[in-house]
Amino acid sequence: MSAPAATFRAARRIDWLAMAALVVVALLAVFALMPGVVAPYDPIALDVVNRLKPPSPAHPFGTDEAGRDIFSRVIYGTRYSMGVALAIVAFAAVFGTLYGVVSGMAPRWLDNLMMRIVDMVFGFPALVLALAISAAIGRGLDSVTLALSLMWWPGFARLVRGEVLRLKTEPHVETARALGLGPVTIMWRHIVPFVMSAVNVRATTDIGYALVAVTALSFLGLGATSPTPEWGLLIRDSRPYFGSAWWYLVFPGGIVMLTATACSLLGDALDARKGA
């Protein structure tokens, strides 16, 4: 960080990658918001004559065992997979931030109690909770959203609490206290604005991780149900055809990987900007 030239070069390299990541995310947003415009076929219309056809100009990602166009299914799937990932991270970021701010501002005994609760949630296996919730309210994307939301917020809570503890001793916060401001005003005006950049970085990166978690649960059969074109479910359905129809696995899997990578790169770029 001491050599400005090195920092500059690093910033430029990250910018280039970040631009690519931004393009990917923008495309995904288009897919999610208006899949009908991009997708050439109905994602659930059957065409049994053309089952398991390899990629061709008519079907760029090939077709599945029911003759459905995999390209169209991947595009329609964006809304489900990314929507759920976004919902999980949005809930986790909002709830985790509030929890972390309260914990960081609270008296020591309450802070300790709140952080032990965070430790407990951290220690609880996500898969077991997902299984339990699936069993209770039924298999589906709703139970995946619920299970992962409940598991996801402690990361934000810890991050924000740490930032709050650091910020509490910043000179401008001391000055605010010296002016006689109350804890609530200090929290909203003098602490929370400085926590948000760290939260944004974490949230951006976490969307990718949440996506992987969502598709993993669907792959295991705890998430989306047929014929929803959710990405994890596509991968699950492709299993019997691994040997004969490679495209069925590779394209949905590839898009999950590409999306997760893009989110991670965007998060890194935001982090670099925050430090600069």
């Binding site: 020591r108 910043e170 000179p171 401008h172 001391e174 000055t175 605010a176 206290r177 010296a178 002016l179 006689g180 401001l181 109350g182 005003t185 005006r189 003098h190 604005p193 400085f194």
Partner: protein, 324 residues
């Protein structure tokens, strides 16, 4: 106006209790500029923070601090908040960090007025601008609309002072207000503090380690060492004829700065003793050129010496008893 009686600030840690301020007493008269001087670790800043009710988390404050007749030690924070900012203004050392970078300068000054219910909305902003004018900031309306990073360090310290005096407090506590500033700006800020004191009839408690600052503004001086008062008295007599060897060494080292470079440096050997390992007897004896067996065994108490009081068995100035 302000009476501090047997003030202690201590921290309890794993290795027992550490006493950072050990039973100090003093009083500040209305309208006076009272200076607490000492090295880092002498407890001077903690003393100031304790008066404002801002001792750090985990610190235990004992003794009594009467501000305008009311004991503020142990006052619940909700009540102390009405005193802080309103009747006691505080200026800290670091003008860069003291302002919140995401709000405008004017908004932050207005915030001080709003929280104490003195002005709202547009009126608060107008008063913020006139406060900036009062601390001699050129083009105050523009500065009020600026963010802290858009103005210079000296202006920021002025803005911080404007915040501290926004509610027209009776007491201004300034903790190393000039340490982070360069020499010319330092002089300007000191002039400003002196002028404001007259204009607003402020009582000032200035905390510093810089004898140069003291000479400019002090009416009375209190010298702290290792959490205790070693000497207190009127500025003129204390600086002319210090009674405590520590005060004299402090003065000598301040003179050095102005002395020709050939002069040999006088240094005070050693440093402030750590909280857990206070020497027996006089706390200054390991570093004191005049120390005797008595200093190693017996704790000296404050007594009348010269024009003020000093806690020393062998003062540099005659005591009234010695004169008899």
């Amino acid at each position: 106006m302000l009476e501090v009686e047997n003030l202690t600030v201590s921290f309890s840690g794993r290795d027992g209790r550490a006493v950072a301020v050990d039973g100090i007493s003093f009083s500040v008269a209305a309208g006076e500029t009272f200076v607490i001087i000492g090295e880092s670790g002498s407890g001077k800043s903690l003393t100031g923070m304790a008066i404002a009710g801002l001792a750090p988390e985990g610190a235990r404050v004992g003794g009594a601090i009467r501000f305008d007749g009311q004991d503020v030690v142990g006052l619940p924070d909700a009540r102390m908040r009405r005193v802080r900012g309103r009747q006691i203004g505080i200026v800290y050392q670091d003008p860069l960090g003291a302002l919140n970078p995401v709000h405008t300068v004017g908004d932050q000054i207005a915030e001080a007025l709003r929280v104490h219910g003195l002005a709202r909305g547009r009126e608060a902003m107008a008063r913020a601008v006139s406060l900036l004018e009062r601390v001699r900031i050129p083009d105050p309306a523009r500065v009020a609309r600026s963010y802290p990073h858009q103005i210079s360090g000296g202006m920021r310290q002025r803005a911080v002072i404007a915040m501290a005096v926004a509610c027209n407090p009776k007491l201004l506590i300034a903790d190393e207000p000039t340490t982070a500033l360069d020499v010319t700006i330092k002089a300007q800020v000191l002039d400003l503090l002196r002028d404001l004191k007259a204009e607003l009839s402020l009582t000032t408690l200035l905390i510093t380690h810089d004898m140069g600052v003291v000479a400019e503004v002090a009416d009375r001086i209190l010298v702290m060492y290792a959490g205790t008062v070693v000497e207190v008295g009127p500025a003129a007599s204390l600086m002319d004829r210090p009674a405590h060897p520590y005060t004299s060494v402090l003065l000598a080292s301040a003179m050095m700065a102005e002395a020709p470079p050939q002069t040999a440096l006088t240094v005070v050997p050693g440093g402030t003793p750590p909280l857990g390992a206070m020497p027996e007897g006089c706390r200054f004896h390991p570093r004191c050129p005049r120390a005797t067996a008595r200093c190693r065994a017996e704790v000296p108490v404050l007594r009348g010496v010269g024009g003020g009081q000093a806690a020393c068995h062998h003062p540099l100035v005659e005591t009234p008893e010695d004169a008899l």
